[in-house]
C-alpha cells in the first residue's frame, strides 16, 4: 500500500498542485509595480521680453481713470505698449503610478529586463510603453 501511494497518488497530487499553482499564478497572483508614465504637455512660459508687472500689462491703479477716459482726454503716452505673448513650450511630464501586474506580465517583463527591485523593496518598471528596454536583461 505505501508503494502504491508513492507511485500513484503522490505524482497525481503533485500534478494537480502544479496545475493549481499555474492557474493561481496566471489569474490571481499580482504584484504591485511602480510605473512611470511620460506625457508630453504644452505649457505657457512667461516671455522674458515682457514688461514687468505694472508697466503696460496690468490695469492702471484704481484711483486713476483709464487712459482716454474723460475728463483727461487722450492718453499722454500714446497707445498701450506691446504685450509679448507667453512662450509655448512642450515638456515631458512624468507621473508615477502603481499598478498590480499579473504574474504572466511580470514574467514577460523580466525576460526583457523591464522590472527592477528598488532599495525600498518596491518593484519598478524600467520602461514605459509597450516595448521592453532590450532583448536581453543581462
Amino acid at each position: 500500500m505505501p508503494r502504491i501511494i508513492w507511485r500513484a497518488v503522490v505524482p497525481l497530487l503533485l500534478l494537480l498542485g502544479g496545475i493549481a499553482s499555474i492557474q493561481h499564478g496566471a489569474r490571481h497572483h499580482s504584484v504591485p509595480v511602480l510605473m512611470e508614465q511620460e506625457e508630453e504637455v504644452t505649457i505657457d512660459v512667461p516671455n522674458p521680453f515682457a514688461l514687468p508687472p505694472g508697466l503696460g500689462q496690468d490695469s492702471p491703479p484704481p484711483e486713476m481713470p483709464p487712459f482716454g477716459a474723460p475728463p483727461f482726454g487722450p492718453p499722454l503716452f500714446g497707445p498701450a505698449p506691446f504685450e509679448a505673448p507667453p512662450i509655448k513650450e512642450v515638456v515631458t511630464r512624468v507621473t508615477q503610478t502603481t499598478e498590480d501586474l499579473l504574474e504572466p506580465v511580470l514574467i514577460r517583463d523580466v525576460t526583457v529586463g523591464g522590472v527592477r527591485l528598488l532599495a525600498s523593496g518596491e518593484l519598478k518598471r524600467t520602461y514605459s510603453g509597450d516595448q521592453g528596454p532590450s532583448l536581453c536583461p543581462t
Binding site: R3, I4, W6, R7, A8, V10, P11, L12, L14, L15, G17, G18, I19, A20, S21, I22, Q23, H24, G25, A26, H29, V31, E103, P104, V105, L106, I107, R108, V110, T111, V112, G113, V115, L117, G121, L123, Q131, P133, S134, L135, C136, P137, T138
Partner: protein, 329 residues
C-alpha cells in the same frame, strides 16, 4: 516467451532511435516557428528567452529573476512540478535543446571519459547558490547571477543578439526600431563594450560567459552531456521528480543475467541494475536495450499493478545490491 522478448527488445531499440527525431521536433517547437513569442509562459526546458527564436520563457531564468525581485514564481514552480510529476527527466533526454546540442557534439568520435556519479550534486549547488541565493541577496547585477554565466544564454541569446546588432549597424539599419541597445556595462566582463566598424559601442558578451560556453562545448566532446550531468539546475529539479513521476523506469531483476550490459549502455555513468532512475539519469532509454530495463507508468505499470513489485517485477528506488557486488538477478 523468447519470441516475445525478442519482439520487445526490437520495439525498445526502435523507440530509442526515435529520440533524435523527438529532440529535433521539440527543438523546432522551442524555436518559435510561428513567431508568437509567448514569453508570458514558462517552457519546461532549458532554452534562453533572450534567444531571438524562443517560444517560451526559460524556467530557470524566471526563477533567478523572480528571486532577484523577491517574488514567488508560482507559474514557473507549477510548470516544473507538473511536468516533473508526469515525465521527470524525460524532458532532459528527449526535449531539451541544450541537451540535444551536447548529444550532437558527443557524436563526434573522440575519446570519452566518464564522470563519477556523485558529481551530479554540483547541480544542486548551482540551483541553490546561483539561481536562488545570489539573486535573492545580491540582485541580478551580481556577476554570478545565473543568467550572466549561463552557457545556453550565451549561445542562444547573447551571441545572436550581438551579431544581429553588429550586422544591423553595419547596414545602418536598426532591425527593430523599438529595440534599444542592451546594457553596455556588463559586470561579468571587463571588455563588455567594444567598438564596431561604425565606431558605435556594441555590448559584446563578457569574457566569462564566452569562456564558460567554450569550456562546456569542449567538454561535450570528451564527456557525455557535461552540462547536464554536472551543473544543470533544471536537471537537478527533474532528477528529484524522477523519484515520483508517473512515467518511470523499471528494473526487472528476474530478467537480469548479470551481464552488465545496462551499465555499459548508460552513458551517464549510472548503474541501472542498482538504481534505474539514478541521480544523473536523463531517461535516454539506451539502457532499455537490455531486457531487464523497461519503462512503466502508474496507469499501466505492468504485470503487478502500480508500483506493486511482485516476484517478477521490481522497481528499484534504492540500491538493491550491496556495493561492490556488481551483479543483479
Amino acid at each position: 516467451m523468447s519470441v516475445a522478448k525478442g519482439k520487445s527488445l526490437f520495439h525498445r531499440a526502435k523507440l530509442a532511435r526515435w529520440r533524435f527525431w523527438a529532440q529535433l521536433g521539440f527543438l523546432l517547437a522551442w524555436l518559435d516557428p510561428l513567431l508568437v513569442r509567448m514569453h508570458s509562459v514558462c517552457g519546461p526546458v532549458f532554452h534562453c528567452y533572450s534567444c531571438p527564436l524562443a517560444t517560451f520563457a526559460c524556467p530557470i531564468g524566471v526563477l533567478a529573476q523572480f528571486s532577484a525581485l523577491h517574488v514567488l514564481p508560482l507559474i514557473a514552480i507549477g510548470t516544473l512540478v507538473a511536468v516533473g510529476a508526469v515525465v521527470g527527466s524525460f524532458v532532459c533526454g528527449w526535449a531539451c535543446p541544450f541537451g540535444f546540442l551536447q548529444d550532437l557534439l558527443a557524436r563526434i568520435p573522440t575519446p570519452k571519459f566518464s564522470l563519477p556519479a556523485w558529481t551530479g550534486v554540483f547541480r544542486y549547488v548551482v540551483l541553490i547558490a546561483l539561481v536562488l541565493a545570489i539573486p535573492y541577496w545580491y540582485g541580478e547585477e551580481h556577476e554570478l547571477f545565473f543568467c550572466r554565466v549561463c552557457p545556453a544564454g550565451t549561445l542562444e541569446g547573447a551571441i545572436p543578439n550581438t551579431v544581429q546588432l553588429v550586422l544591423s549597424r553595419q547596414a545602418n539599419v536598426h532591425p527593430d526600431p523599438t529595440q534599444q541597445e542592451p546594457a553596455a556595462s556588463d559586470p561579468a566582463g571587463q571588455d563588455a563594450t567594444q567598438q564596431d566598424a561604425a565606431g558605435q559601442a556594441v555590448p559584446w558578451p563578457s569574457r566569462t560567459r564566452i569562456v564558460i560556453l567554450v569550456a562546456v562545448l569542449a567538454a561535450a566532446l570528451v564527456a557525455w552531456r557535461p552540462w547536464c550531468t554536472l551543473l544543470c539546475p533544471l536537471g537537478a529539479i527533474y532528477a528529484v521528480c524522477n523519484r515520483f513521476s508517473m512515467v518511470f523506469m523499471r528494473f526487472h531483476s528476474d530478467r537480469c543475467r548479470d551481464c552488465k550490459v545496462c551499465r555499459s549502455l548508460c552513458r551517464g555513468g549510472d548503474r541501472p541494475n542498482r538504481r534505474v532512475d539514478g541521480l544523473r539519469c536523463v531517461r535516454c532509454m539506451e539502457c532499455q536495450q537490455c531486457q531487464a530495463v523497461s519503462i512503466g507508468t502508474v496507469f499501466s505499470p505492468g504485470e503487478k499493478g502500480p508500483g506493486g513489485p511482485g516476484p517478477e517485477l521490481v522497481t528499484l528506488d534504492r540500491p538493491r545490491f550491496p556495493s561492490g557486488s556488481g551483479g543483479c538477478g
